[in-house]
Structures are given as C-alpha cells and as structure tokens.
C-alpha cells in the first residue's frame, strides 16, 4: 500500500467536495457508476473548447485532432486491457449493454445455428442474459446456466455436461451483486477444449484489477467507460481479431460503409463497420484520460486499496451486526472484489438506502439487474455497497453510523 494515499486521490474528484444533508458525501455506489477525476472532465471540455469536429472525414486541423483523439482512445484503452491489435479489435459502443447486444446480434446471429448451446451463469447481469434470450427466440439456440453454490461461487461440478454442444460460454469476470471473482482462465480453457469461445462481462472488474485479455484467454469482453472513472455514453467491446473479422455489421448508417449505391451497400472493413453514425468523441477523450488516471494510480495498488476497505467492512459487519446482516457474497477476501450486498433483517433495502442518504451515504438498493440471482438467494433486493479508488475509511464510518441508525429506526 505504500504510496497510495486515498486522501490525495479524493482531492482529484470534484464531486467528492459535495455536502449532502450536512454530511460530506460518502460515495459507495461505484458498482453502478464511478465518479470522474478532474482530468477526465478537463479532457472532455478540451475537446469541446478546442477540437470539436467530426471524425474520419474532414481534413481541417480540428477535424484531424478529433480523429486523433478518438482513434487514440481506441489504442489507449486497447493497450490498457492488453489487446494484441487495438486498432482492429476495439469497438466503441454506447455502453456495455450495447456491446453485448452488438456481439450477440452480430456474432451470435451469424455464427450460431438452431440447437447450438450457449452457457451463461446464474449470477449474470441482465445484459448478459436478455440478448441471448432474444436470439434464442429468433433462431432457437439452447441456453444453459452454470449454477451458483451456497458459498456464492460458480458451481463447476457439472460443467462438462453443460458444455456438451456449447459454442459459447459467456460469464461475468466479477459479479455486480456478490463481488465474486470468477475463474475466467479455467473457464476459457474448458470452453476452448470443446471448441466454444469465451465471452467475459468485464464491466465490474475492469476498474478494480488488472485486465489482460490474452492472459484471461477471452475471445470477447465488454465494459463501459462510466464504471472506470470515465464518462457515461461510451462502452467498449473487444473481440479477438480472428473472430471479429467474421462478424457482420450491427447498426447501419454513415461511417460504417465502404460504398452505397441505389442497389445496396458494402460494409467498411475493420472496427468502423460497427460504429454507424457520429461516435461519442468527447467521451472517448474522457476515457483516455480515465485510463491515464487509473494507470497513474496503478491497478494493483487500486486492487490492494479496495481489498483493504472490503476486509475492513466485512470485519465490522461481523462484529457490529452479527446475526442482523446477511452478506450476499463471499465472507472472506479470497477471490472477491469490493462489492458488498447486504440483506439487513427487518430493514428493506429501499428504506436502508433512504436512511443512509440522510448521512450523505450513497448505496444502491434493488435487484441490480440480476433477478435470477436474487431469486436464487430468496430475496427481492439488496442494498449494495461498492468501492472505487477514492473510497476511504471515512466513507465506511459514515456507512456504519447510518447502518446503526437504520437498524434502530426499523429494527
């Protein structure tokens, strides 16, 4: 932890100077969206103030700057995730959900045949479930789910049977509800052994640990800029070059074509065939700055810092709320990230979050777009605490003050 000073990190985030209900804001909802350092906001303003032009077409100076900014972001984020060929593998989308839809509707619809098997898990976000269901309803694929064990891990004991006939395994790298970190490399090896590809939902993990698509053994991953200190409105789809080259375009329009006649069109080659219309250019500038910022802090240092906060939280929950609070997720730090879902006896998550708001504490109540997982554990909702690089022990003190108060009011 040497060199990592959360107080200094905090000072980089303008939003953290806010006072909410007479309390300094304690932002503990980074799993939903992270907040941005000043450098990200400045990068976006810089584009609007200096280089606001469209990309890929005009030849004047500001347009060339805009193109350089946008394509630079593609390479920057590609290097950040260890992509071997960023220019040919990184596709910008609206968000991680659109990245999933693009992949399923392009790769899935063109490569899968009726009866082919798609293996998901019970802990997936709806973004990694619903597009597959849509494809099933369209072409008749079979969808199977890796179950989640009582200790909040993927139960891989029946994986061999699930993989029979599988063409794709698509799982989250880290659960947005449980905090569980999944054995992606093992899943990649076992998927590849039966000729299936591995798709990884990296939305929760990408800002909190080192991501390397080659080491993961992934064939495609999805994530969004806004969960990694960047802006909203920009998602990333990385697909291994060999697989991407076989994918037909997604949305049609300007920017994605090589030629259009009155008879038809020819799609552009390369990643731009998936990026119809004017792309999120300012957001791409913001994402570049966010990646710079994350790498300046160091992904390993961020992971250490968040693990320390997670451990501290689990400890305090165990000592101060034993028997009152059930944690939906692993109770130790082993293979778990900084997302902690709480089920507080007698206090509905909405009420808990409302009380916490009075303490300036931001947590997320709800089903977290993972209703099958909620059903698996017999709850309709949880209150979720999630950390970012700027989270501090002071945030946790505010959280626990609020928790004690809520239990007093409702318990």
């Amino acid at each position: 932890m040497s060199g990592y000073d959360p107080a200094l990190v905090r000072a980089d985030f303008p939003l953290l100077s806010r006072v909410i209900h007479d309390h300094p804001i304690a932002y503990l909802d980074s799993g939903a969206t992270s907040i941005s350092p000043a450098s990200v906001i400045t990068a976006m303003s810089h584009y609007y103030e200096n280089s606001h032009a469209n990309v890929h077409r005009a030849v004047y100076v500001t347009a060339e700057e805009a193109t350089a900014t946008y394509e630079g972001a593609r390479r920057r984020v590609g290097r950040f995730i260890g992509a071997p060929h960023p220019d040919e593998e990184v596709v910008f989308t609206k968000n991680a959900t659109e990245a999933f839809n693009l992949f399923v509707k392009s790769w899935g619809a063109s490569q899968l045949r009726p009866g082919d098997v798609v293996v998901l898990s019970e802990m997936e976000h709806h973004a990694n479930i619903v597009p597959w269901f849509q494809l099933r309803d369209q072409i008749g694929i079979e969808i199977r789910f890796i179950p989640v064990s009582d200790d909040f891990r993927l139960d891989l004991s029946g994986l061999d049977e699930l993989l029979v006939g599988a063409k794709v395994v698509s799982v989250t790298g880290m659960s947005n509800v449980l905090g569980t970190i999944n054995p992606v490399r093992e899943l990649a090896d076992r998927a590849h052994a039966v000729g299936a590809i591995l798709v990884v939902d990296a939305a929760q993990s990408v800002a909190h640990s080192v991501t390397n698509v080659v080491e993961m053994g992934a064939d495609a991953i999805m994530f969004s800029a806004h969960k990694m200190l960047g802006p909203t409105g920009l998602g990333v789809l990385w697909v291994r070059r060999e697989i991407l080259s076989a994918m037909p375009p997604f949305l049609g329009g300007g920017g994605m074509i090589a030629d259009v006649t009155l008879e038809g069109f020819t799609a552009a080659s390369g990643v731009t065939r998936f990026e119809a219309g004017t792309p999120p250019i300012a957001e791409a500038a913001g994402l570049s700055a966010a990646v710079d910022y994350l790498e300046k802090l160091g992904m390993a240092a961020i992971a250490d810092h968040e693990a320390q906060l997670t451990g501290h939280t689990l400890e305090r929950l165990a000592t101060e709320f034993a028997g009152r609070v059930r944690i939906l997720g692993p109770s130790t730090l082993e293979k778990r990230g900084g997302v902690i879902s709480l089920d507080v006896e007698g206090v509905h998550p909405h009420d808990l979050a409302q009380v916490l708001d009075q303490f300036g504490v931001c947590v997320r109540p709800g089903h977290h777009c993972a209703k099958p997982l909620m059903r698996r554990f017999g709850v309709v909702a949880t209150a979720r605490v999630s950390f970012g690089p700027y989270s501090t022990l002071g945030d946790l003190d505010a959280l626990f003050d609020g928790l004690h108060h809520a239990v007093g009011v409702f318990g």
């Binding site: 209900h21 709800g366 309709v380």
Partner: protein, 154 residues
C-alpha cells in the same frame, strides 16, 4: 429540505409493522392481481371480492419497503367495505396526492387535495418529497386499479 420525519411518519411505521388486511382470499371467487415494481423488484398480490357494487373484502400479500407496504395497508383500510364509487374516489384522491409533487417540493400545502377527506392516507403526503419513492407508494394502488378493471371494465 425534506427530512426523514416527512417520510417515515408514525402512521406509516405503524401500518408497516402491523399491516392490515394481509393474507390471501380463495380465488375464485376473489380476483387475484399481481403488481411489480420493476425498478426495485417489489411485488404485491391483491385479492378483491366485489358484491353488489361493494368491495366487500380485500387482502394482500407481497414483499416491499416500508412505504410500499404501509401504502398498501392504508389503502386496504381505506377501501374495504366501500361502494365502488367511493373506492374510485379514494383512488382519484390518492393519485392527486401523488402528483402534487412540484408544490410539495416548494414546501407549500397543496390546494388540489383536501387532506381532511383523506384521513390516515394523508400520512403518505410526505412521499411526494422523495420522488423516487412515489413508485413504492403507488404500487398497491395501481394493482388495485388493475384488479377493479378485471371485475368491471370502465
């Protein structure tokens, strides 16, 4: 600034802790209507029996936060045994209460709703100061409206 005391009034906490008309009714003869709040996952099932234009019985099951549970309980107490015309009037009054949000945010008492006619339901007035929670309060009512539609389409 809206405070917690505006939201969690004593009457609301009482109805949350001791919900009225909780349970099931044999269906049929009762109608059974499910309601969902897709934002938070809250669920409710409303059972209704209408005889000769009177809502003679109402029971509810489901899970939800204090606001949704208390609103359901207050609703059931307000409409049980009432002629359907009265039930519809209550629904309209409640809807008006939930839509006076702008005025309530300014801290002004609403002229649009006669609070004296609301009885205990007036306790829900504070909810409009917390716009996200309005959906919690309206879940049971929307499910009641749906159930009544099934019985006698308007």
């Amino acid at each position: 600034m809206a405070g917690m005391e505006d939201l969690y009034k004593e009457i609301i906490m009482d109805h949350y802790r001791s919900p009225r008309n909780r349970g099931e009714l044999l269906s049929p003869p009762a109608t059974r209507t499910e309601g969902f709040n897709p934002l938070c996952g809250d669920e409710i099932v409303v059972y209704l029996i209408v005889e000769d234009g009177v809502l003679t019985d109402i029971k509810m099951t489901g899970q939800g936060c204090s606001i949704s549970q208390a609103s359901a309980s207050l609703m059931s107490a307000a409409v049980k045994g009432k002629p359907l015309s009265d039930v519809r009037e209550r629904i309209d009054t409640f809807k008006a209460l939930m839509t006076v949000h702008e005025a309530a945010l300014d801290g002004e008492a609403s002229d649009a709703v006669d609070l004296r006619r609301l009885g205990e339901l007036a306790a829900l007035q504070g909810v409009v100061k917390f716009p996200v929670r309005i959906k919690c309060a309206t879940l049971a009512w929307n499910t009641l409206i749906q159930g009544l539609e099934e019985i006698s389409p308007t």
